[in-house]
Symmetry: C2
Subunit: 334 residues, 2 copies
């Protein structure tokens, strides 16, 4: 069971700041809410080393009251890419491949589609997933997620989330952060399950969207999904979407591909104070996948170069993560 499951409905940022005001509090509450604070290691699935140390150092700096890098709790905003950062990169593609008429297109002309990148994918998905109300789409998404299985791992996609990142989300929230998703994926595709899986409520999810039309029908109000792109939350769209939704500049951002470059720049470059950028580098073909500069999806090229220049942390999945998925039982293969 993921460490966020107990805590999904608690905003630890506020909880802990209020607990700090309490002279007494019960052991039972502490055992649930202050998990990551009271145990010796808030990131047990991370191997010791420079990567893990950089996270712990940053959090210590911004939470140390009176210190030179202290950040008030309401400004502790962290944004996470989803595909390839919190869970495997594949679902969006697989989702499409099982759906006609796009399966044929994909089988026949993968190169052209790959060349169009995430934007092309989002556009195709947008068109396929229009022509219904938002409530109907939510049901379709939930049904798909409950029944679909990954072709390699034979598991629901909601089990293909990275355990170390779940720990990181919980640790940041326990340290007063408000955690957001900023993903190229469809905003309404993610919202039905992000609270249950990541502890991130729908109102803290930013993503690509299609236009909707408000309609009154038989005395009931609906939003009808139209086959027109509203917003692509990728590349420069990420800082734009983050500003539109949050209205504050994040102090930490987490991604895995060139599509996350501008989000990391927005979080770390151009504003004062301690800032943190992190890139998940897929280096473990055995336990997950290995891809970077020449990948069609989730390509990591200029952002990897930028990481070196800007002192962003790069996670080497093979070396830095003891376990990748909650179902991994083995220790690190280092």
């Amino acid at each position: 069971m993921s460490p966020t499951k107990h805590l999904a409905n608690l905003d630890r940022r506020v909880l802990l700041s209020s607990l700090a005001m309490l002279p007494l509090f019960s052991a039972s509450l502490r055992s649930k809410s202050a998990l990551a604070q009271t145990q010796s290691d808030p990131l047990p699935s991370w191997n010791e080393g420079a990567t893990k140390a950089s996270i712990l150092d940053f959090v210590a700096r911004v939470t140390t009251q009176g210190g030179p890098f202290f950040v008030p709790v309401e400004q502790r905003i962290a944004t996470f890419d989803n595909d390839g950062t919190l869970w495997i990169e594949q679902p969006m593609y697989v989702q499409l491949k099982t759906k006609q008429p796009f399966a044929a297109v994909l089988d026949g002309d993968m190169k052209a589609l790959a060349a169009s990148g995430e934007k092309g994918l989002v556009e195709i998905i947008a068109v396929t997933h229009a022509g219904m109300t938002t409530a109907e789409f939510e049901m379709i998404t939930s049904d798909w997620l409950a029944t679909a299985r990954d072709h390699r791992f034979k598991r629901p996609y909601t089990e293909l989330v990275y355990l170390p990142m779940l720990e990181l989300l919980a640790y940041l929230r326990a340290s007063g952060f408000k955690t957001f998703i900023a993903s190229g994926g469809g905003i309404e595709f993610m919202r039905p399950w992000t609270e249950r899986i990541y502890g991130i409520p729908p109102e803290q999810v930013i993503g690509s969207s299609i236009k909707t039309r408000f309609e009154m029908k038989d005395g009931a109000s609906t939003l009808f999904r139209l086959p027109d792109i509203n917003f692509i939350d990728d590349k420069t769209g990420k800082p734009i979407g983050i500003n539109e939704h949050i209205g504050r500049r994040p102090i930490a951002a987490f991604g895995n591909s060139d599509g996350d470059l501008e989000m990391l720049q927005w979080a770390t470059l151009g504003a004062p104070g301690a800032r943190f950028g992190l890139i998940v580098h897929h280096t473990d073909a055995e336990r997950e996948y290995a891809y970077d500069r020449h990948s069609h999806f989730g390509r990591l090229d200029v952002a990897l170069d930028a990481a070196a220049v800007n002192n962003w942390t790069v996670v080497n999945m093979k070396n830095d993560w003891k376990r990748i998925f909650a179902f991994d039982q083995a220790g690190p293969p280092r």
Copy 2:
């Protein structure tokens, strides 16, 4: 001092749900956080009557665990219009009138502008307020708000907020609600001060916006404001913006004009469970203003008819509010 000022940085929803788990808690914390819960009247500036009773009844129903209308805390979403609902309708217009070249336009051809409605105003403001970074615009807004005075009340606009509505916001949050603004006004105009004045953080503000462009300049990232409308958060735009930002249907909505009609429909019509709609009717020319069906700004016409049909609560400001502003010392003139 407004009742929200002490509480601006606390999310009472979470705080109270966590306090419920505590066998012991300090008196000093209780006195601050559970203000509206422990005092006998959470809405002291509201006169007794059907209006106030409708609010208390709704909140009691959705918070009664095991009751037929109980709503889990994470689904207690309430959305508020701003101009004319939380503060006076005038600031946007006054803001414009003091700014050339639009002062001349306004003086010369008020009728044409009025005919274009809030959308026309938003467009003009958008164009005037482009050509700078988001950080620069935030400073201009903050400066304007600190120095500008209302022509009638001779006070900063942040004092021209409705005390009964501040009490209502605090009461809802103390009852587990997450409160959002959904305003036709500019999203970046509101965000610098909504947390301080209303206890609503930037990420819970929805509004009209212009497009921005991401730029890297001398190693720093900026968002540059462009003179193009991105989104008009008025009329059908309100449910669309609410869905885009929140991703859940509110169970309560609060407005004052025809521009809020669709938001109230979205909150109250077409989904199960207890729902609450409220319209602030400006009926007090002496203490504030009196306007409805024939007003140019904040026109309340079809929404007033819809209120009767849909059983929405209509606040008669003159009769229902003991005090309108925090600086009003007199009792009700009824």
